[in-house]
Symmetry: D3
Subunit: 245 residues, 6 copies
């Protein structure tokens, strides 16, 4: 998929954080494809090299990640913190991520959900990102004082697996049925060849999107979970609800 | 406030149900004013004459309601069910309300929240409306077969008091800070003169909207609670979050 | 699928209640097939003729239901209460269902989940069944005194759609991957030909079972939600958990 | 209580983690007794010497623990982490516990519940064990690469006190009414003589088991809380529910 | 136990509603004894004759109830609604109970908890009482206009069994350890001789109070669940917390 | 406001912890004023100098804090832990705070709420205080063994903003309508002149107290959230409920 030729410059950037090289792509690559295609700049920050996984060296996984980001129209950087399967909730990490927020100055931020019963790095990164978005607004944090404070518009949490979907928060469901979007998402997942050799994660995600699509009355949909209440100027944008079948 | 001279015909109607003559106005009159001003048709259906209240005869309250609806740019009808303070969750009521849904054919429906610890008519009407929106889709319901099935886009619940706001669902917050909107809302509440003689309900609502406004970064905001996940074509409309101060 | 030739007589009957002619089959037909195949007697009680649906006459739907029950190895009876889309929570209904419980004397009961935001008949029947299981134990209820009191072992709730799955209760996941079981389930769903003409409900259920299967480490699984804590003689039967991917 | 003479070799080991020398015994010693008696190997890992408690030296508490484990038919080791009342959620701890999981290779793991308002070491150890069970499956974690990955079947949380029982998760209730089991449990609690001098913890546990027993229709029962949905081949093992009196 | 000779006239009455002849006594007889002993007037309203139970005729149960109320120092009346095991949530019932509230004019009201998975009459009566307390404040309800409106101070829900205790609301725990209070409570339960022949309900309640007492640092305590936030003039009365062991 | 001339010596001290120099005052200064006026000793422990905020130097903020504490009649000390916006949940911090608890020996402790989606220091300090209150009871914690163990009566959580109010716990509402109390609270907030220059935090708090006051039937009320169930000798102190309008 090529980014649209005429990106709309007024769109704020989207900044997506991932704990491992393939998390963003599997959880919500279709949403990323849709946003870049609409002209939004998207940047990935990956916080480990996935070195604790059963398969794939850091080098291979880095290459896969760059390829996947390119397919989705996003830029990417690696910002290792404590290492894969070792992430801890440290104030210094939150401040480092707040520095990234100030540098990229996103309107929208994506982060892994806070649901605990999954890979322990995921909810910890989600909490660090939530804290970072707040610290980015405070003027007196010494390490990042050289960058101007920045307030993000909204954090959306993504779920890498169905069990990571919060059950106490309703999602927004993003329609990703467009064949071009679906194709880009699928290609981005398949770019992580080292990870999909053994288990069919691609099928998991497409099945899951199919089930959410059935709720939303479309072919495929991806759920994202807003961190804060949505502020609206009118009811129109929220006027289409997933009908609960 | 005058309705805008050139309503946009593509806007679907908004259908608001109230258990008592002043519920819609106090809970979310500002949202109604905003939608009618944007050219949306709004229709109120009031399901009792408020005859169990301490003050105001049915006649007086009917007049107040018509005046308030006019101020907000809405049409209004009364559809008494079991009577004020006597509403029960009966299948026949849900079917009757489904008939109204088929007649008005709204995209958006407003109803009182399902929170139980308040006036008992409120959550019961909320449940009836939720059921009605579903029955309106089923082709075989005998009483309403003469009207074509209709699927609403979204139900939003409103809260007549702070304690009626669900705590297990995040709201959307609608900005009603525009002085013209605020003025229309205030005038519509004050139209219910029989009700505001004894307790300052107007102040309650404006104070409450002020507190939600502080969350949303605006002067005043009204919370509404979507019944079903919001389906989006892009993240842009949901990209502004109430920042939790 | 034929019922196994030598049913084990010590297995207590399973009694499944449905609000509409196809609810049991779509929600958990695979579990029924598995239980009858293991020699358990299963009886369906369907509490309306589905006459409010968009498609299918009561006669057609009755024939479809008998065919589906036969495929699954179950017996079936119809016990209309208030009519489709008209069910109310009445004490008389609970007593009538308690009479059925006393007559069939099941160890296990299946009923629709109590989740509210779905077809209104579903949670209401769920509540009636839960109440019926309790009334069946009380000796002094006049209408059913001719039948000996009976205490069921466990009520499991089923979900007709994904949105009807309770989010505040963990399910048990029943493995239905065996091709013979899957085949019987699919055939039972397809027996409801009048219902699957317009929307692909069969695909919905198989997709959903596939997603639960991925959680459980099997091909397909169906979630059921126990009403009461499970009492165990040893940890062994509960020693296999769905791994949250 | 003597372990049964002919343990069934096919039973997978049970691995129980405790934050302090007496936690496992008080919370669920009866379950342990039942499992060892049924031939299951049980191993205790105690993560402090209880040195912050008001009573008992580490030496005395160690002796009491070995005696209690012996009574229950379990083996025991001490694996101090940060020290009593000092436990923190560190990635290094989770990896160390994952190493124990790989060494013991349990089917079932017991850990303290995640409920927060209790001794702070308890929920932290629970979280570490949950993380450890996941890390034990990942092939690339350097410190434990010499041990083959291992996937546990189920984690059950135990509650040391009534207030540590999760209220958002239903328990499984294990019947421990058998006098021999009850006797072994009581003896194992009483082996912690230094702890029961001042407050009647034994009475607390037996009273609590009596109340759960009343729910379960037996004399005494112990609640355990599964971390993941239970996967079943048939409904039979879950067919006995605690009847809510 | 004799009521104290000099009741303090400034104490507002306590009005307790029960669905069956023994519910109030088993659930919270100790609290009643404590309040009457402190000089508060207590009145019981029992909404069925318990005729659906397995044991005891209405006549016998009426006599037992009068005896139990006398032991606790309370007055009692019977107000049958739909009959035992037949109670429905009808507006007419709520209005009838609101009439009782206006007649007795209590500061404190006791009602069964709203937890659903128990005898169906219990949560229904709880909901009716909650509604009644609200309707008692409205001036326009025709049937009860002859009695002056009345606003109760607080509704407390009681739980007849442990499973009826709400898990989403913290209780207040009332110390009932005083031997005289415990004796009166026990005698009031034993007055229901027809009910305690078969199952040891008295032991259930005393065991349960013992477990709550262990939480509260006293011998026995009874939990009650306030319907609305407690309004305080100072923190002193709330300064003693159950310590979670 | 002057403290009352004759403090009642039998009142136990109140110990309030704040993460930043103005948190206690903004969240619940009115409650503090009321308690000191009633003769209770109040001591503030502030765990950072607020140096990460956008406005105000540590020196200025320290002076503001001392002035505010004086206005409220409280003493104050600073106990910096990891620094503003850097607080982590460390066992050493909990032990340090437990040492303060043993020194001050309060009956009542105030701490920021555990709600996560706010300034990250707030819920972390809340958790540390909760742990500290527990560690203060344990005899064997080496660092604080020189101070006698102490058990606090109750921890109340305060909310610095509306979004920090727990939604899963009911508050107690403290009436602060007395003009002298309101005046002292307002003056204490205004003492933090460096913080209120840019945003109207004082209006936020008074608006919020006004809304809670409307619930409670008074002019202004402040919500506090008890950590543990309240233990009562009688229902009288809890007999006034916020009426949910």
């Amino acid at each position: 998929m090529k980014p649209t030729p005429h990106p709309q410059p007024e769109l704020t950037p989207l900044l997506a954080f991932g704990a491992h090289p393939d998390d963003i792509e599997f959880a919500c690559g279709g949403v990323v494809a849709k946003e870049t295609r609409a002209g939004r700049r998207v940047h990935f920050v990956v916080c480990s090299h996935g070195e604790a996984g059963t398969r794939g060296t850091p080098e291979v996984r880095g290459e896969e990640s760059h390829r996947a980001a390119e397919i989705l129209g996003a830029t990417i950087e690696f910002l290792p913190l404590d290492g894969d399967a070792r992430l801890e909730v440290r104030a210094a990490h939150a401040i480092a991520l707040a520095g990234v927020v100030r540098r990229v100055r996103p309107g929208i931020v994506l982060a892994p959900s806070l649901v605990e019963n999954q890979h322990p790095d995921h909810p910890r990164l989600g909490r660090l990102v939530r804290d970072a978005a707040r610290l980015a607004r405070y003027g007196g944090v010494a390490e990042i004082r050289s960058l101007a404070p920045h307030a993000v518009g909204q954090i959306f949490y993504y779920a890498v697996t169905p069990d990571a979907e919060p059950t106490d928060l309703p999602p927004v469901l993003v329609d990703v049925s467009d064949p071009e979007i679906l194709g880009a998402w699928t290609a981005a997942m398949e770019a992580h060849a080292s990870q999909i050799a053994a288990r069919n994660y691609v099928e998991l995600q497409l099945t899951r999107a199919g089930l959410h699509g059935l709720r939303a009355g479309v072919d495929r949909a991806i759920p994202l979970f807003p961190n804060d209440p949505i502020v609206l100027e009118s009811l129109a944008p929220a006027g289409r609800g997933a009908r609960a079948f």
